[in-house]
Point group: C2
Chain length 153, copies 2
Amino acid sequence: MQKDLATMEYDELLAEFRVILKSNKLKFTSQREAILQTLYSHPQHFTSENLYLLVKKNYAKLNIGIATVYRTLSLLEENGLVSSISLGTQGKKFEIANKPHHDHLICEGCGEIIEFENPKIEQLQEEIAKENGFLLTNHLMQLYGICKTCQTK
Amino acid sequence: MQKDLATMEYDELLAEFRVILKSNKLKFTSQREAILQTLYSHPQHFTSENLYLLVKKNYAKLNIGIATVYRTLSLLEENGLVSSISLGTQGKKFEIANKPHHDHLICEGCGEIIEFENPKIEQLQEEIAKENGFLLTNHLMQLYGICKTCQTK
DNA sequence: CTGTGTGCAAACATTTTGCAAGCAG
DNA sequence: CTGCTTGCAAAATGTTTGCACACAG
């Protein structure tokens, strides 16, 4: 039984990544580690571009290419180590998946993202899936609004 | 007080569109109408491309361009007559907004989209927003899973 | 060694924009 | 008439792919 990603420390995450690579006959490379490490140490939402720039800066010696970032993000997402969401006009964003599942409250004024989780909603979602004969694999919930600060502007 | 979009017939929708255009000093053109009409009569989810192809086919005389579709969709979305969602790898999809708010259950196998609504979840969302000092304007909920048919494949 | 991974540049896909001609008001 | 709108093509953006060399196993 795999350990819950939610409570995973970096070394555990890394070990998990190695297992995934091995079982897919893929190789562990410094570029792949740099990307995983960067995602882990910045639990924020990255666009592919942002992540590329940060890895490029923090691991200048690697001279990483944007193509590698895309390829690695796909790999990580396919294996559940990162998740992505698409915000309206801001494009696709990625984040490391080593935290409890959570949803997003997004301010349309300043773009601030607040994370939250709500077990009751999760339970209702399961019920809806069941009613429709679906086997749920994932979900995405984004609430858009105006935050307190922007309301007073 | 504006009539609820949810119960709007086409002629009402069209009238609403004319008002929006007028108040923005924009013109009512056959291209814009063709797009609105097509969205109304096909209450499904369109990509920009799909919609372009369908309008092109149904209104061949107009010889419409893809740029006009993009421009009109932006206009309609800004004014709340269409809404859009971003599905994982399938890009942004648009639909006419003249129906009750609803969320989506999406099959990762075949791409089928089932619409549903759940008042209990909506209420919980309001509570979450309130707790965080947000004034809710909109929300998006997508449940991903495998539909009954795809489960047996 | 073998075969996967990488950076690079080119290719693609999608969306936006400049422009001259068309047309709504 | 005036100036918004359109189609077209070009440009801009974002993402994927082919290739030859690099390197993990």
